[in-house]
Subunit: 382 residues, 4 copies
Amino acid sequence: MKHALTSLGDYTAPVRRFGASFIARLMVLAVGLCAMTVLTIPEMEQSASLWLNLCLGSCLAYFIVESVMRAYEHTRNTRLLNYLFTPGAIVDLLGVAPVTIALVSGVPPATAWLFASLWILKLAQDSPGFAQLGRVFVLEAKPLASVFAVFLILLFLSAAGIYVLERDYQPAAFGTLPEALWWAVVTLTTTGYGDAVPQTNLGHFLGAFVMVSGIATFGLWTGILATGFAAESRRRNFIQTWDLVSKVPFFQSLDPSAITEITHMLRRLEVPERTAIIRRGKVGDCMYFIAGGEVQVDIKPSPVRLGAGAFFGELALLGDSIRTANVTTTMPSTLLVLDLADFRALTAHHPDLKREIDAEGQRRLAENRRREPQRRTSVSPS
Amino acid sequence: MKHALTSLGDYTAPVRRFGASFIARLMVLAVGLCAMTVLTIPEMEQSASLWLNLCLGSCLAYFIVESVMRAYEHTRNTRLLNYLFTPGAIVDLLGVAPVTIALVSGVPPATAWLFASLWILKLAQDSPGFAQLGRVFVLEAKPLASVFAVFLILLFLSAAGIYVLERDYQPAAFGTLPEALWWAVVTLTTTGYGDAVPQTNLGHFLGAFVMVSGIATFGLWTGILATGFAAESRRRNFIQTWDLVSKVPFFQSLDPSAITEITHMLRRLEVPERTAIIRRGKVGDCMYFIAGGEVQVDIKPSPVRLGAGAFFGELALLGDSIRTANVTTTMPSTLLVLDLADFRALTAHHPDLKREIDAEGQRRLAENRRREPQRRTSVSPS
Amino acid sequence: MKHALTSLGDYTAPVRRFGASFIARLMVLAVGLCAMTVLTIPEMEQSASLWLNLCLGSCLAYFIVESVMRAYEHTRNTRLLNYLFTPGAIVDLLGVAPVTIALVSGVPPATAWLFASLWILKLAQDSPGFAQLGRVFVLEAKPLASVFAVFLILLFLSAAGIYVLERDYQPAAFGTLPEALWWAVVTLTTTGYGDAVPQTNLGHFLGAFVMVSGIATFGLWTGILATGFAAESRRRNFIQTWDLVSKVPFFQSLDPSAITEITHMLRRLEVPERTAIIRRGKVGDCMYFIAGGEVQVDIKPSPVRLGAGAFFGELALLGDSIRTANVTTTMPSTLLVLDLADFRALTAHHPDLKREIDAEGQRRLAENRRREPQRRTSVSPS
Amino acid sequence: MKHALTSLGDYTAPVRRFGASFIARLMVLAVGLCAMTVLTIPEMEQSASLWLNLCLGSCLAYFIVESVMRAYEHTRNTRLLNYLFTPGAIVDLLGVAPVTIALVSGVPPATAWLFASLWILKLAQDSPGFAQLGRVFVLEAKPLASVFAVFLILLFLSAAGIYVLERDYQPAAFGTLPEALWWAVVTLTTTGYGDAVPQTNLGHFLGAFVMVSGIATFGLWTGILATGFAAESRRRNFIQTWDLVSKVPFFQSLDPSAITEITHMLRRLEVPERTAIIRRGKVGDCMYFIAGGEVQVDIKPSPVRLGAGAFFGELALLGDSIRTANVTTTMPSTLLVLDLADFRALTAHHPDLKREIDAEGQRRLAENRRREPQRRTSVSPS
């Protein structure tokens, strides 16, 4: 059966691939949300109701098909019940189920389509960035909780204070504690709508204190998040780069301590097909290692291709800094970029590495000469 | 007498333990503050006065009992007078005394219960996070004071400026310097109520300058807090982890310099009872050392238990990254987590450590085989 | 003549010292600014004019005397002309001259005293913290200028845009470009007075873009300041601590690389006279070196005094962490604090340092025994 | 032809140089933008129309000439088509073309000159700082995109929520989803105009949640930018300083690892002609290496000049910290500053470097004596 599906899949693959692509999803999402937003304007609802409903219906159909296909794909490996509790499945369900149920159970369309606003959650699906942000909040949970407690304490005490100070002067705005709490949250976050403003002198003092406290509190909040993000960012880069470094044969001859060091220095770069990486004549301040994919070096008689494990652009770091040839990807590739600064620090600590880069360059140069004896151009653009 | 109390305590322990637990306190706090908030709404006060007062009375009784018990417990070790000046005791007193005194001395209940807003301070009690935030402010006290002085200078000079520029055009909003100061603080913190807005051209210029200065000032404030928090966070983690590392026998064979290094890399993790730490089939990117408590590894014929000092999850770092067994805590445990990135950096610097981890894994594997000769599953889930 | 002044000074020294002290200046400043603020309220000006003027006059007299004395003291070393261009002298002059000239030249007092708002600048006088903040702005001047240019570009383009979009709908609020610029600055800083709010759909789009751009811009601003402050803070601490470390004989036997390392770890602490540093029974997580001053260790038969170069509190780091004696300063002292975390890292790298601390402790213990043979208490509180 | 142009250029060079200078451009820009702003005020347009148009016309002429000259200069090296797609050329075109086309095609001047607001983009031209800020956004693109997605999700869901909660109570402010989106963006960025404020209790709850979420989101945003800027700043400083270090002969004798280390410590300083670097009698906490240019040391009989490769100010770091002579640049110079803190750390790790600095000082001192045998002043001011 899997075989049958695969062969069916072969015919519909191009359509399916576009339909499931990132850009197609974003476009459907944007169209759907716009249509749903426009539908809430009374004039538009009367004049263009049919078209808007049609548009929303198509988007809903797309998301239903997509959700079912995604569920089908996942449940080949795991059980349906396990899959239903993954964030992706919950987002799919929230996007599809409420609006369908509302439409089927006879809720007026204008109201039912409001549930389509849940489609915006699809922005968070399958994104590694969200996991990273989430980890920052988890790692710094304790200090963030403390800051939030400080916020609650300030909120409640300032609300109680302003209630006592202003309730007799402005019973409409500060007559009850819930209204005072609303003022406190609007002031503590420095939003400042201006619908409730203290007018007594003591109220002004308290207000000034609340504003400054709010800024101090959220400054601490930002400081904690900055610290957490810096740590998480360092950690994540290391892990991802390490996996790639292990695929580059050139680094495998190094001792583990040098690999650890170089991993901290390399930066990953995902490049799509047919993209220029190096342009002739530009100033170069980095060299590249190919962790996956292939690039083409445009040297004159016939271009040379470099595959996974090769490196290029090192001449710019060794001597003259002007690039001598264009380098373009021939397929989606993963490169590891070594900046000039790090290259110098690295070769300072590991002179053997510099020798290896020189030797590898010489070897490629010799190979290049053997293939094209009439020319003496280096494969490796500087 | 201490003995008598202990034996009495044994009977009431479960109740007492729940009553003193973190969640019970939070619930009483939330109920009390809600009741007190609702009591300030005139309609509610008339219709549900009895119930609200009853509810608030119960919360007050709970806090009185709790305060007395806490005081009793503390004064077993220290003198009452010393205890009264600890932050915890002051918060207890502030929560209990004012509202009680107000009620007893015949203040109308609706007013007296306003003092219950001080209960919110209990959020700050016994929390190590607050001490940490406080230390950041202490360590960075000098630069923060300088920023606050800059704020005061900007505040006063801009208030004097706007007073001179706008007092003739808008005597109601800028007629006196206190009113101008109110505008200045509302603008400098970018709250912007809109109750006083400059209308002359020069007033607009000054206003724009004040807003931009406010953001620059508080950006510096945030930068200082971020720097201070990063330093404090590093320091605190080191101390807490060092204490745990010293309890893991595996690390005791290392030289002090390696212990310092590994302490910087380990992350503490407090896990409650019966919590899954590793799930079979998931991708693993860290290993765990048990600093305290016990975990159960669910391998088939009969599960294996690992106690303090053992480690698990190392196979995911050595080879294949898919976890091969569930691991669950059997009691509240303290784990030390070593991330993949740090594991690689550590074993690169200390190849002997990697050998020890391999050897320990082999030893446990052999023991496992001896116990269950018919199976060849490793105890250690990868 | 200098001699004559000194002997005269000897009689007035206590008064002069208090009058020139930090707290006295702050009090005069606060009183002066309050009086000047109150004077702008018409009712107060009529009822309490005499008292307020008297109060302001006294403050002015104080600042005149202070300025003259400070100028006299400085011009003993440098020429008057050089001194006049120092920030301190300019602040003194700004505080004294404008208000005096205004009063003398017949300006009505209520207006003349407005110049007293310049007194607030005295907050910035003689404060090293301001120099530090200033250095951050100087070091990061280029990126901060770039962010400011981005701010100006956003400001001008959004003002031009909103002027085109809204001038026909709201000629009162957006009828001219200066008015549109006012809206742009109020929105870009997220102040949001609400005196001018776009009402067309395109205006709403532009407004949303301006708000989000404002936050992005000022987030970058904060990030630059945080980076700059972290660098400046590290640099400043190192220099100040190095100077103190060189005064502690204990560290002089170390090689320069170890001194560099320990300098990064030590934290300065300025302690006034008669201040408790260690309290008996508390948990200790740091040890102290005396860079200057003297402390008294309260051990029973007779307390022991430790002077510059000695250390104390090390037992808490070596074994049991409960402090065993009170330690109090007998004069204003400068201490160097070594945290538990850093102590462990340091002694891990320099085992000889740990031996020296142990040996020094033993030596002091022996001396202690020699002095009081009937007791066996260690001088050094843990 | 190039030769002809150069000789023509020689005559107009001084005018051309001022006309193309940074300050002249800023002045023309400021004058042009002010004139264009004033032109939108109806009274000014009627009374001073001629002068304003003349002024704007001159600015436009200046920018046209400047753009053409810049294009001419660039197209000597690259092709015109390539140049047209550089950011500089696009900014030039945007500043010149739209306003010219509008004026020529008969649009009323008051409207046509609005395109002059695009001149503000010239602030971004030729500034390396902008490239640096741009790199931060590129490096942190993924997490910033995630934060922006979180912002969009919060925006849309809170708009849908407030629309449902408030549309019946305030149909004017929350009657359609676009209006609710406007409220959401105004609240989420904590701008808070106050033109639309929730009034139901649930609306207040949602509003409070939106404000706090907004601050949390943008705190993360700031944290990411701070992390990215710190990394980019470190990288950029290293590269720029390395290039300069390689020009100082003194450092060329060092091994590469020491050069890497010292590069991290040095700070670049671009100094214009005739600028005092060291003032006699001031306290010194850094020494200087001359990477390019020349300085003059004002020692009494006749001043001494030091060129590229020399250093000065080292005596302040070796012993007494009071500078003993003025040092002034004689031409625009590039200096490398070594702070006291870093000097100590460096000489601790590399005692040979300290010896070389001492030796070089002695050598210069000896040379100084040979030239002026009657005096014994060191050339090198401390």
